[in-house]
C-alpha cells in the first residue's frame, strides 16, 4: 500500500465514521416522531407528526444558511475576541487566524461544503452537526404539542436549533470556546450544551403558551391526565431514540487523520468502547431509577432511560462504570418528581421535556463538577471543577435557554401568533390544518377533558372517499 493510499484510507475511515454515525442519528427523529405522535391525542396525531417532520427541513436549511457559521464564528466572543466573519482581517494570526480558517469553510457559499475532492471532512462534520441541531429543536416540539401554531413552532425551532444551542456549542463544545479555555468546562455528551438549553428553552415557551384546554380543572386548578392515544407507539419511539443516542454519542468522539488516539472535542484522550459501556449502564440504571420512583409508571419508566443517559452525558468519557450507575440512577429517580412539580405549578409539559432534558441536563453537567474533578484539559486551561461547570451550566440554561425561549414566545404571544384558537384546539389540529383525520377508518371517541365536546370544525369529506 502506498503512503498516499494509507493517507486516503485514514481519511475514508474518518469520513465513513461520521457519515454512518449521522445516518443512525436520524433514528432519534424517527423516535421523536413516534414518541410525540403516540403521546398526542388521536385528533392531533397528524399535526404532531408533520410538525416533527418539518423540524428536519426548518433546522436543516437554516443550519446550512447560518447555523454552521455561528458554531465556528462565536467561540471567542465575548471574552477572548469578537465574532469572526467576512469582516475579520484575512491576515489574522494566532487563535483568530485558526478560527478564521474554520469560519471560511462554514459559509453557505464555501467550496468546502460542496463536492470537493480536496476536503472530505468538512461536509461530513456539517452533516453530524445539523443532526445535533435538529435533535435540539425536536426536544421543544414534544413539549408544545396540540396547541402551538406551526408558524410559531417554526420560528422557535430556528431560534433554538440554529442559533441559541449553536452558540452554547461554540462556547462549551468547541476547542476554542471560552467555557473551556477560561473555566475548564467539560461536557462531552452535551448535557447542558444541548439538553439543558433545549429543556429550559421549552420551559420559557410553555409559560407563555399555556396549558392545553382541559389540562387543569377550571375550578380547583388541579392537573388532569391527558392520556397518550398510543402509549405503545410512544415506547417504541423512545427505544428508537435510545438507538440514535448511541450514534449521537459516538459522533461526539473526535477521530481525524493524523491522530494516534481517539479524543474528545476538548483534546483529552478517550475510547469509543467506554461510550458503549457507560451509555448502556446509564440507560439500564436510568430505567430502574424512574421505575422505582414513579411506581412503575410506563411513561416515566421509559423516559428514565433517556434521563439516565443525559445525567451522565457530560462525563461519559471519564466516569468509571460504577459511578455511571449511581449518577444515572439519581438523575432518573428524581426526574419524575420534577415532572410532577412542573405540572403542579400549572405548566403543561406534554412529554416531560423539561424534567428529562432540562433538569437532567443540569444534573449531567454539574455531576462532572462533583464526580470528575481535577482532570487536566490543556496547558493554561483550568482543571475540571465545580465552579467551571456551574458557570457553563448557568449560561447554557438561563442565558441561552430560558430567556430566549421566554422572550421570543412572549413576542409571538403579544402578536397573536403563538397559539391556535380554542375552537381549533377542541376540534383537533388534524382537521384544521390538513382537513384529514389520523385514523379516518375509525370513529374517534369524544375526548371531553373537562370541556363539552361540540363539533367546532365540520368534518369535511376525505379526499379519495366517495361522498354520499
Amino acid at each position: 500500500m502506498t503512503p498516499e493510499s494509507q493517507e486516503f484510507l485514514a481519511t475514508f475511515v474518518s469520513e465513513s465514521y461520521y457519515y454512518w454515525a449521522s445516518v443512525f442519528m436520524l433514528l432519534i427523529h424517527v423516535g421523536f416522531l413516534a414518541y410525540e405522535g403516540g403521546a398526542s391525542r388521536a385528533k392531533n396525531v397528524l399535526a404532531t407528526m408533520v410538525k416533527n417532520l418539518l423540524t428536519l427541513s426548518i433546522v436543516g436549511l437554516t443550519f446550512f444558511f447560518f447555523g454552521w457559521w455561528v458554531y465556528n464564528a462565536f467561540p471567542l466572543f465575548p471574552l477572548q475576541g469578537g465574532i469572526v466573519g467576512p469582516w475579520t482581517d484575512p491576515n489574522s494570526e494566532g487563535v483568530v487566524g485558526e478560527v478564521l480558517g474554520l469560519v471560511q469553510a462554514s459559509y453557505p457559499w464555501s467550496p468546502a461544503l460542496g463536492p470537493n475532492v480536496a476536503d472530505n471532512l468538512t461536509g461530513v462534520f456539517w452533516f453530524a452537526f445539523s443532526l445535533f441541531a435538529m435533535t435540539t429543536a425536536s426536544i421543544l416540539s414534544g413539549a408544545v404539542i396540540e396547541r402551538i401554531k406551526v408558524g410559531a413552532y417554526a420560528i422557535l425551532a430556528v431560534v433554538l436549533g440554529s442559533f441559541t444551542w449553536v452558540v452554547a456549542a461554540a462556547w462549551g463544545w468547541n476547542p476554542y470556546g471560552w467555557f473551556l479555555t477560561q473555566f475548564g468546562y467539560h461536557d462531552f455528551g452535551c448535557s447542558a450544551v444541548l439538553h439543558g438549553v433545549a429543556g429550559f428553552f421549552a420551559l420559557g415557551v410553555l409559560i407563555n403558551l399555556g396549558p392545553r384546554i382541559g389540562k387543569f380543572d377550571s375550578t380547583t386548578g388541579k392537573p388532569r391526565a391527558i392520556l397518550p392515544h398510543n402509549l405503545p407507539l410512544t415506547m417504541v419511539g423512545l427505544m428508537l431514540i435510545f438507538v440514535g443516542f448511541y450514534a449521537f454519542l459516538a459522533a461526539c468522539v473526535i477521530f481525524v487523520p493524523g491522530q494516534s488516539v481517539e479524543i474528545t472535542i476538548y483534546g483529552t484522550p478517550m475510547t469509543l468502547a467506554s461510550i458503549g459501556v457507560n451509555t448502556t449502564l446509564a440507560l439500564c440504571s436510568g430505567i430502574v431509577g424512574a421505575y422505582i420512583s414513579s411506581k412503575a409508571d410506563p411513561f416515566y419508566t421509559i423516559s428514565g432511560g433517556l434521563a439516565g443517559i443525559i445525567s451522565v452525558g457530560a462525563g461519559l468519557d471519564l466516569y468509571s462504570p460504577a459511578i455511571v450507575i449511581l449518577i444515572a440512577f439519581i438523575g432518573a429517580y428524581t426526574m419524575p418528581f420534577v415532572g410532577n412539580a412542573v405540572e403542579k405549578a400549572g405548566i403543561d409539559d406534554a412529554v416531560g421535556a423539561f424534567a428529562v432534558h432540562g433538569y437532567c441536563g443540569v444534573i449531567g453537567a454539574m455531576a462532572v463538577g462533583v464526580m470528575a474533578t481535577g482532570y487536566p484539559q490543556g496547558d493554561g486551561i483550568p482543571l475540571t471543577g465545580f465552579i467551571g461547570q456551574l458557570v457553563g451550566t448557568l449560561v447554557c440554561t438561563i442565558i441561552l435557554g430560558f430567556i430566549p425561549g421566554y422572550g421570543v414566545s412572549f413576542v409571538l404571544k403579544k402578536l397573536g401568533m403563538l397559539r391556535v384558537s380554542p375552537e381549533e384546539e377542541i376540534g383537533g389540529l388534524d382537521l384544521t390544518e390538513f382537513g384529514l383525520e389520523g385514523y379516518p377508518e375509525y370513529p374517534i371517541l369524544a375526548e371531553g377533558n373537562g370541556v363539552r365536546q361540540t363539533p367546532a370544525i365540520p368534518v369535511s369529506p376525505q379526499p379519495g372517499m366517495p361522498t354520499l
Partner: protein, 158 residues
C-alpha cells in the same frame, strides 16, 4: 480530586503511567469505585424488590360478613313473605273480586309448601344468624373507632 492525573502529560501518557491506561474517575483509588459498585448492586436488589409492589392492586375480597349476612336476611325475608297472610278485605267491586279469586287460586298451589313451613314454624334460627351477621362487623367497627378515638385523645393530651 477524582482525576488520577494532575497534568495533561500524565493524562495523555496514561498507558505508561501507574494506572496502566485506565483514565476513569478514581482509577488511582479503587476503593471508591468498589464502594460505588456495592451501592449499585444494592440499588439493583431494591429494584427487584420494588417490582413486587404492584401499584394497581386488585380489589381485595370483602372479608366482612356484610354480604353473607345480607344473603341470609334476604333469604329469611323471602321465607317470611311466604308465611305472611294478607288481612282479609271485603271487596266491593267486580274487578277486585276477580283479583281476589285469582290470588286464592294461586294460593292453592303453594298450599302444600305453606303447610310444611307452618309445621316447622317457630323463631327461625337463620333469622337470628342474619341479624348477628349484620350487627357483628358494625359492632367491631364501632369498637375500633372508640379505640382510635381514645388513642387520639391520649396522644393530644400528651
Amino acid at each position: 480530586m477524582s482525576s488520577p492525573f494532575s497534568t495533561l502529560e500524565e493524562f495523555n501518557s496514561a498507558i505508561d503511567g501507574p494506572t496502566e491506561g485506565a483514565i476513569y474517575t478514581f482509577a488511582n483509588s479503587p476503593v471508591i469505585n468498589n464502594i460505588a459498585l456495592i451501592v449499585a448492586a444494592g440499588i439493583f436488589i431494591w429494584f427487584i424488590a420494588s417490582t413486587y409492589r404492584t401499584p394497581a392492586e386488585p380489589s381485595r375480597a370483602d372479608k366482612s360478613m356484610n354480604n353473607l349476612s345480607s344473603f341470609i336476611v334476604v333469604g329469611l325475608l323471602s321465607l317470611v313473605a311466604i308465611n305472611h297472610r294478607p288481612p282479609e278485605q271485603t271487596s266491593t267491586t267486580v274487578a277486585e273480586r276477580k283479583g281476589q279469586d285469582t290470588l286464592q287460586h294461586n294460593s292453592v298451589k303453594t298450599n302444600a309448601l305453606t303447610k310444611y313451613l307452618r309445621s316447622s314454624s317457630g323463631p327461625s334460627p337463620m333469622g337470628l344468624l342474619g341479624m348477628v351477621g349484620l350487627g357483628f362487623p358494625t359492632f367491631s367497627r364501632l369498637r375500633k373507632q372508640r379505640k382510635s378515638r381514645s388513642l387520639r385523645r391520649y396522644r393530644t393530651r400528651r
